[in-house]
Amino acid sequence: MNGPVDFTLALGDDALIAAQRLAEWTTRAPEMEEDIALANIALDQLGAARLLLSYAAELEGAGRDEDALAYLRDDRQFRNVHLVELPNGDFAVTMAKLFFLAAYQLPLYTALAGCSDERLAAIGAKARKESAYHLEHAALWVKRLGDGTEESHSRMQLAVDQIWPYTHELFAADPAAPVDPAALRPAFDATVGPVLAEATLTLPESGWAPAGGRAGVHTEHLSYLLAEMQVLHRAHPGASW
């Protein structure tokens, strides 16, 4: 990646695509409380995305704003990791995705809060408080499902097995970035290990590590997500109400 612009864009895209995926649960979650929870977490992710994309647009200096970045780029121009664009799957898959994402975002935003870029530091200090709450919420569900019934255990284990390979992309080294993602791995592992152990779940062998999102190479799922997210803005450019 190329310095603070790409880095900020990548983080903003992670949050934006995560928000859009989580919002798909609205009115469809297994219970009312969880419907509200997922919508709230999506809103937090959207809030962070707006701050990050606005800043990325300023750094880029090409006259674009957060809306231009969110609605007028095509899939190859998005820099989010595959983890966030993967379909929601069942509730266990969604919780596995959220758990791994939050376990990465919390140390990421915490490190950002202490970085030398003032704007990123402010965003990090703000977003990490919200991330801590997301992580708690997802960890509770991972434990409840993992250490629950035979059915919930097997589905939570399947979800972990399915999503785990996509976590490696989060920590691809980028020494030029304000925070090198590779340095976040120990904190992530220290969070994930005990929760999975308490949930009576096991991690699959690390081997396959799909990647490419940071370079704009995505799974087929992203295009469908973008089509839904962008259609209104593209059909009515500049509309307001």
Binding site: N40, G47, R50, L51, K126, K129, A132, Y133, E136
Partner: protein, 158 residues
């Protein structure tokens, strides 16, 4: 013309209409340029995605115009991040009177406090339980009192 600080401080939160933005701690500064008379108001959001921010900005501008300060700018800052510890004593009392349990103090910065017992804002009983970690707005969780059986909102410590 009245004092711009008083005018801005009187704006109520659009989602929790019993408390002003000043009592909530999101009004950070009000400055008036002595030369031009231009007023700059600085606010900070409770949560990054708080959807009430646009309404708050326009309510501030409306309040300042009504107070004789039509030339006003509302700036949004994110640092230092808002904390529920910034809610004033008066604000906490108003929340409780409206049936919203005020947040517990935040002990360690950046860490969400584990609230062991939230007092029911209606009957005062500590025998309460959390129904949902999230609530009707980004800043609240849903609780229920086991003594009087009433559900109530709790402003989450942040």
């Amino acid at each position: 013309m009245s004092d711009p600080r008083t005018a801005a401080a009187s704006v109520v939160d659009p989602e929790i209409r019993v408390i002003t933005i000043d009592e909530l701690g999101i009004l950070r500064a009000v400055e008036e340029d002595p030369g031009s008379g231009r007023v700059t108001v600085t606010i900070t959001p409770t949560y990054t995605g708080c959807p009430a921010m646009d309404v708050i900005r326009s309510d501030i501008r409306r309040a300042l115009t009504a107070a004789g300060h039509p030339d006003a700018e509302v700036r949004t800052v994110y640092s230092p991040p808002w904390s529920t510890d910034w809610i004033s004593e008066g604000g906490r009392a108003k929340l409780a009177a409206a049936g919203i349990a005020p947040p517990a103090p935040v002990s360690t910065p950046g860490v969400v406090a584990l609230t062991l017992s939230v007092r029911c804002p209606r009957c005062g009983s500590p025998e309460t339980e959390q129904l949902s970690r999230f609530g009707s707005t980004a800043c609240k969780a849903l609780w229920r009192c086991r003594s009087c059986s009433e559900p109530f909102d709790n402003l989450k410590a942040l």
